[in-house]
């Protein structure tokens, strides 16, 4: 819900300050959840992309007319930078608002709530199990790497050596995970995974008053932005 609001409102308002406002809000929320640190690598990676966007647009955007400054022979234009800055704000906004959801909520809780709301339990299962089964597969992978290495296979060194090592490494991983998948499917089956009965949940749904107020407030935000947009349109 927060994501939707954070993305829709600035788009509707079409103003940059709204985007910046939501970025600040996201940062505050992340800070209060003590997970801001975890967003740093994410931002680090995306900042590289964004920086390229900034440079390219600053140099070559089609509407460039007013030179702002130049580094050596490269001339940066005001309009291009402005446009790039808009993209930047949007991207960071989207990233951070997703971070708010993902880093502050346990994945299983999140999916469980989706399933409660009528989301298919099968898809729910796929999403949750990915978080747990991928690490297991990575572990298998490292066991297999060690095993193959102990048989004298070279797994490190030049690119060509690594490429050659790839197939004997990856094929046992795929085979074993296929077998595991069959067994896991059986295990799920005998625990009534396909049951058509109405599911119940071990964890109680905690719905405090604040939850509802926040949802209403966010909804109002969207509606307000929508109305504002329509008014501008009509003018």
């Amino acid at each position: 819900m927060y994501i939707i609001t954070a993305i829709i409102v600035p788009v509707l308002l079409g103003k940059r300050w709204a985007g910046i406002g939501f970025i600040i809000l996201s940062i505050i929320l992340l800070l209060s959840g003590k997970v801001l640190k975890k967003t740093l690598p994410l931002l680090g990676v995306s900042s590289f992309v964004l920086l390229t966007v900034l440079i390219i647009q600053g140099l070559f955007w089609s509407g460039n007319t007013t030179p702002l400054f130049n580094i050596g022979p490269a001339v940066f234009y005001k309009e291009g930078l402005n446009f790039a800055f808009g993209i930047l704000v949007n991207v960071i906004n989207i990233l951070l608002s997703f971070c708010v959801l993902i880093l502050t909520t346990k994945p299983s809780d999140m999916i469980e709530n989706f399933v409660r709301k009528g989301f298919s339990p099968r898809f729910g299962y796929v999403f949750i199990s990915v978080f747990q089964i991928i690490p297991q597969m990575t572990e298998t992978m490292s066991t297999i790497t060690d095993a193959q290495r102990s048989r004298g296979m070279e797994t490190e060194g030049k690119l060509w050596v690594r490429i050659k090592a790839f197939i004997p490494l990856i094929s046992p991983v795929i085979m074993s995970s296929l077998i595991n998948t069959k067994e896991r499917a059986l295990a799920l089956e005998v625990r009534g995974f396909n049951s058509k009965k109405k599911r119940t949940f071990l964890n109680e749904q905690v719905k405090t008053g604040a939850d509802i107020y926040i949802q209403i407030a966010l909804l109002l935000c969207i509606i307000a932005a929508l109305i504002w947009r329509i008014i501008i349109w009509l003018k």
């Binding site: 199990s129 625990r191 009534g192 396909n194």
Partner: protein, 292 residues
């Protein structure tokens, strides 16, 4: 309680030329502890899966004959409904972890959530199951971080919590260390005492001999024999079916010691008593000789 009736069961896996199960018929009374033995590929696991309804509902292939559980024909009941009556535990504890739950406690709730058990009832059942398998102390641990024995007990607990009347265990201890194996056996014995029908595939003959009420001997998909363990392990042709009798039986066979009903003993206690009584009577003979 559930009575299991198997009538002329035949099954062939898709793409295979040989019957995995060939004309098997027998009946299991409620509350019995049945051990299934036989060499590898003799159809032990297939038989288990046929009773649990995974054959023919999950696996395709040629199927013949009928399996009834409490007058319910497994072929006609979906696995998800049948699993409320019949629970099955597989060999590899690792692959039985659903991978969608973060704690042991939640992991056990998985089947119950699917069955739509009300929350209060669910909590009670989970607590009971954990208590029974002695894993209450791990309730907040991450399922993948448990040892093999603990994980297997968790797998059994999650089946127990669903309160089936029959539990099938397909080599539940083959991938465990001796301590884990002992833990699982203790747990299974507790279940058996509660009157749950237990059907267990196991390679450890001493354990099978000690716990089973009756033993099913399979070879090449055929039912060779079903009888009390003493009788099965006293068969002279046991070696032909790739089965080795418990050590006690082997010793007594070599010594030619049989118990009153004419079978070789299968457990430590019985062997000890028999040997004691023999040595006593031997002692008498020696004494008499001494007097002479």
């Amino acid at each position: 309680m559930a009575k299991i009736v198997i009538e002329n069961l035949k099954y062939k896996y898709p793409g295979m030329n040989k019957l995995a199960l060939n004309d098997i018929s027998f009946t299991i009374e409620p509350g019995e502890f049945i051990g299934i033995i036989g060499r590898n590929e003799s159809g032990k696991s297939s038989l288990c899966q046929a009773i649990a309804g995974l054959i023919p509902n999950f696996y395709k292939g040629a199927y013949g004959g009928r399996v009834f559980i409490d007058n319910m024909e497994v072929k006609k009941v979906a696995v998800e409904d049948l699993c409320e009556t019949v629970g099955i535990v597989f060999q590899n504890p690792f692959n039985q972890v659903t991978g969608s739950k973060l704690t042991v406690y939640e992991e056990i709730s998985f089947g119950l959530e699917n069955m739509g058990i009300p929350r209060e009832d669910m909590i009670k059942r989970i607590d009971d199951a954990m208590e029974l398998l002695d894993i209450s102390k791990y309730r907040d641990r991450y399922p993948f971080d448990l040892s093999g024995g603990q994980m297997q007990r968790m797998a059994i607990a999650s089946i127990i919590a669903m309160k089936p009347e029959v539990i099938l265990l397909d080599e539940p201890t083959s991938q465990l260390d001796p301590q884990g194996r002992e833990e699982v056996f203790q747990a299974v014995q507790k279940l058996s005492k509660q009157g749950i029908t237990i059907i267990m595939v196991e390679h450890n003959m001493e354990k099978i001999a000690a716990y089973s009420d009756r033993v099913v001997l399979l070879d090449d998909g055929k039912l060779i024999d079903i009888d009390i363990p003493q009788k099965i392990f006293s068969r002279d042709d046991l070696g032909e079916y790739g089965v080795e009798a418990p050590v006690y039986t082997q010793i007594c066979r070599k010594l030619g010691i049989k118990n009153k009903s004419g079978y070789y003993p299968i457990a430590l206690e019985e062997t000890k008593n028999l040997l004691n009584s023999i040595s006593k009577s031997m002692g008498k003979v020696i004494d008499q000789k001494g007097e002479m």
